[in-house]
Symmetry: C2
Subunit: 389 residues, 2 copies
C-alpha cells in the first residue's frame, strides 16, 4: 500500500523500543507517538494551530460521537474531518466499538438487565444513543462506511471490548467475534477504498482480556490479516499495570516488526515509557486533557494540582525549563487564578502544558533510543516522576 | 502629565465624532476605541496573543473581583496586572463601585431590606462579598490604593451608580456624594503617584441619572477636576437609547475637547456609532464576549444565532469577507458543531469573531472620520445592521 509506509529508523538494543516513521497521506508520523484525543473533532480547549505549535503529529476523533452528532454525512459534505476541523496533519478515528460498550456501562445498564442499552449479535451491536435514547445498529461494515465518510488517515476495525471482569468463556467469544468482524471490516474496507481519492489505512485490534493463551491466539490472527498496522485493545481498563506489561510481552513475538503497533487508551507518562520498552509505537489517552480540566498538571517531579494554596503567589512557570506556550508566558500564580475562577483560558493553558509534556516526552524517547540511551532515560525519568528514592 | 497625552487627529464636520491618540505608559490607544472586558483579569476564552492579533489596544479588568480573589496584593507581588496577565498593552481598571452596587442588586437585596448587602455612608460603602458573604468596606481612598496596587494605566474614581428608577432626590444625593468622592480620589491618587514608577491616569465619572440639570451640574463639576480623561457612568442601565443619546447631547458642551471621553458599559455596534457621533472616544462592554458564550454572533446584517439549524451544513464563514481568525479558518458548520457540543474551542472562536467585529468597526469609524465620510458610513451601517428598508 503505497500511501502508507512504516520504516524503522532506530532500534534499542536492551529493550524492544524502536523509532519509526509512518508515512500517511497527510504527512509523516514519527513514532513512538502520542496522539491527543479530540472526541468530538476538537482536542478539548485547543485550536489546530496550538496543537501544531505543541508539535502534535496526529490527533484522534471518535466515530461514535460524530456519528450521533453532527452525523458523518455532514462532515463528509464539508470535505471530511481534516478540512472541517482545519487540522492539516494525520488523523485517526476509532471504530465506535469501545464507546458503544463503555457508554452503555457508564449509564449503569448491564447485559442481563431489562433496560440494557447494548445488544451484541453476530451481525453487529444494537445500542441506544446516550444522547436521546434512540436505537442504532453498528455492524463492521457500517463502522467502515462511517469512517470512510469521516475520512481520517487511519481507521480502526470494529471490535468488542469485553469487560475485564467477564468470564473467560465470554472473553473468548468476544475475541472470536472480534476476529470475524475484523475480517468483515477488511473486506468492506477494500471495497470502499476502490473509489476513494484519499486512501485510509485500516488497523485491526487484538483482544483476549488478560489471558495469555487468548492474547497469543488473537495476536496471531490479527497479524495474519496483513493490514498496515496493528492495535492492542482492552488493556488499561482495570487490570494491574504489571498485567498489562506482561500481556505486551506475551504478544510481542507474534507482532510483525515492520508495522506500527498502537496500544489503545494508554497515556500516563510511566505507562508510555514501559510500553515503548515493550515495542509499542502509538498511544492515545484523554488523561492529558482531562487532568487539565481538573486543574492538575505534570512536571518531571510527578503530578501537581493547582488547588494547592502554595501556588497562589508562585512566580515560576508550571514547570521550570518547560518550553510550552504556557510556561514561557505565564506564572503558576496566574494559571492558578484562572483555574480557581473557572476562566476558560486557564483550562486551555493547562491543556497546552499537559499535551506538550507528553509530546515532548515522545521526542525525548525517540532521541534517547537513537543515542542508545533509552533504558537509562526511562529509569531516571520514572524514578524522578514517581518520587522514588 | 507627560505620561498621558491626548491628541485629536481628525474631527468630523457634520457630527461631534473625532479621531484621537491617547498616549499611555504601555503604548498609544487610537480612539474611538473599544476595550474588551477581562473581569477577572482574563477576557473570557482569549489569550493575550489572540487579543493582540485581533487588534485590541486596551483591555479592562474589574477591581471588585480582583480585590476579592486573588487579592490586589498577590497581583502586585507578581509585578502588576500587565506582567501577571502577559498583556503588554494599556489596561484600565474600574473602581469597583459599579460592581459593589450591581452585584448586591443581582442578589435581590434592597436598601430597605434587613438583608441588604450594601450600606452607603459618607465615608464609603459597606458590602458583603458575593462569593462568601464576608463584609468589606470600600472608600474612595481604598479604591485608589487597590487600583494603584493592580497597576493599570487608567484607573477610575470611586462613584455611586444609583439605580435608574431611584427618586430624583436619591440620584441627586448619590451624584453629590460621587463628586465629593471624586475629590477624595484625586487627592489620594496624587499622593500615591509620588512614589510610583508606572504612572496612572485617573478618570472621574459623571453621574446624574437621566436628568438634564443633574447631568449638566455633574459634567461641569467633573470637568473642573482637570484630570486626564472623563467618564460618563450610569447610562445604558435601563433607560431608552434615545434618552442616552439625549444625555450625551446635554453634557457635550461641558466636556473639555482635549481629553478622552469614556462612555462606560456601552458597546452594541449601533450604540457605539451613535455615541461616537456624540463625541465619545472610549467604550467597554461585555456584550461581545457574553453573546459569544450564548452562541450568537454579529455580522454586517445584524445578529445571528448558531442554534439555527440552517447553519448545520454551512460551508461559509460566520461572516463573508471577515478577516478574523475564525472566519479565515473555519466554516459556520464546524463552529456550530463546537457550540452545540459545548466544546470550549467553539466559545473561543465565537468570542474572537465578536471582539474582532467591534475592533474592526472602530478601525472603520476612524478611517471614515478621517475621510470625512463618517455620517454616511454610520447611516448605511446601521441601516443594514438593523435590517431597515
Amino acid at each position: 500500500m503505497k500511501n502508507f509506509k512504516f520504516k524503522i529508523v532506530d532500534s534499542d538494543k536492551k529493550t524492544k523500543a524502536r523509532v519509526g516513521q509512518f508515512k500517511t497521506p497527510h504527512g509523516i508520523i514519527n513514532t513512538p507517538v502520542y496522539m491527543p484525543v479530540g472526541t468530538k473533532a476538537s482536542v478539548k480547549t485547543l485550536s489546530p494551530e496550538e496543537l501544531n505549535d505543541i508539535g502534535a503529529e496526529i490527533i484522534l476523533a471518535n466515530t461514535y460521537h460524530l456519528y450521533l452528532r453532527p452525523g458523518e454525512k455532514t462532515i463528509q459534505k464539508l470535505g471530511g474531518l481534516q478540512k472541517w476541523t482545519n487540522w492539516k496533519k494525520p488523523m485517526l478515528t476509532d471504530s465506535g466499538g469501545f464507546q458503544v460498550f463503555s457508554l452503555a456501562q457508564e449509564k449503569g445498564f448491564t447485559k442481563k438487565g431489562s433496560k440494557t442499552l447494548v445488544k451484541v449479535k453476530e451481525d453487529g451491536v444494537e445500542f441506544k444513543s446516550h444522547l436521546d435514547g434512540t436505537t442504532h445498529f453498528f455492524t463492521p461494515e457500517k463502522a467502515m462506511k462511517i469512517q470512510s465518510d469521516l475520512g481520517a488517515d487511519i481507521i480502526m476495525a470494529f471490535d468488542e471490548c469485553a469487560p475485564v471482569h467477564a468470564t473467560k468463556k465470554y472473553i473468548t467469544e468476544a475475541m472470536e467475534r472480534t476476529h470475524r468482524w475484523a475480517e468483515r471490516c477488511k473486506k468492506e474496507h477494500q471495497k470502499l477504498q476502490k473509489n476513494k481519492k484519499n486512501k485510509q489505512a485500516l488497523f485491526p485490534i487484538i483482544q483476549g482480556g488478560i489471558f495469555d493463551d487468548l492474547r497469543t491466539e488473537s495476536a496471531k490472527f490479527i497479524a495474519g490479516l496483513n493490514l498496515p498496522g496493528i492495535a492492542i485493545g482492552g488493556l488499561s481498563v482495570g487490570e494491574s499495570k504489571e498485567k498489562m506489561y506482561h500481556i505486551l510481552d506475551v504478544i510481542n513475538p507474534y507482532l510483525p516488526k515492520n508495522k506500527p503497533r498502537y496500544l489503545m487508551g494508554v497515556g500516563s507518562p510511566d505507562d508510555i515509557l514501559e510500553a515503548v520498552s515493550h515495542g509499542i509505537d502509538m498511544f492515545d489517552c484523554v488523561m492529558a486533557t482531562r487532568n487539565a480540566r481538573h486543574g492538575s498538571f505534570w512536571t518531571l517531579n510527578g503530578r501537581a494540582h493547582l488547588a494547592n494554596a502554595g501556588f497562589k503567589n508562585d512566580k515560576n512557570p508550571l514547570m521550570k525549563g518547560c518550553n510550552c506556550y504556557t510556561c514561557k508566558n505565564f506564572s503558576t500564580s496566574y494559571v492558578r487564578h484562572l483555574f480557581i475562577e473557572q476562566e476558560m483560558l486557564g483550562l486551555r493553558l493547562l491543556t497546552i502544558h499537559n499535551v506538550h509534556f507528553l509530546v515532548d516526552l515522545m521526542t525525548k524517547i525517540r532521541e534517547n533510543i537513537g543515542k542508545g540511551k533509552f533504558e537509562q532515560f526511562k529509569k531516571s525519568f520514572i524514578k524522578r516522576f514517581k518520587n522514588e528514592k
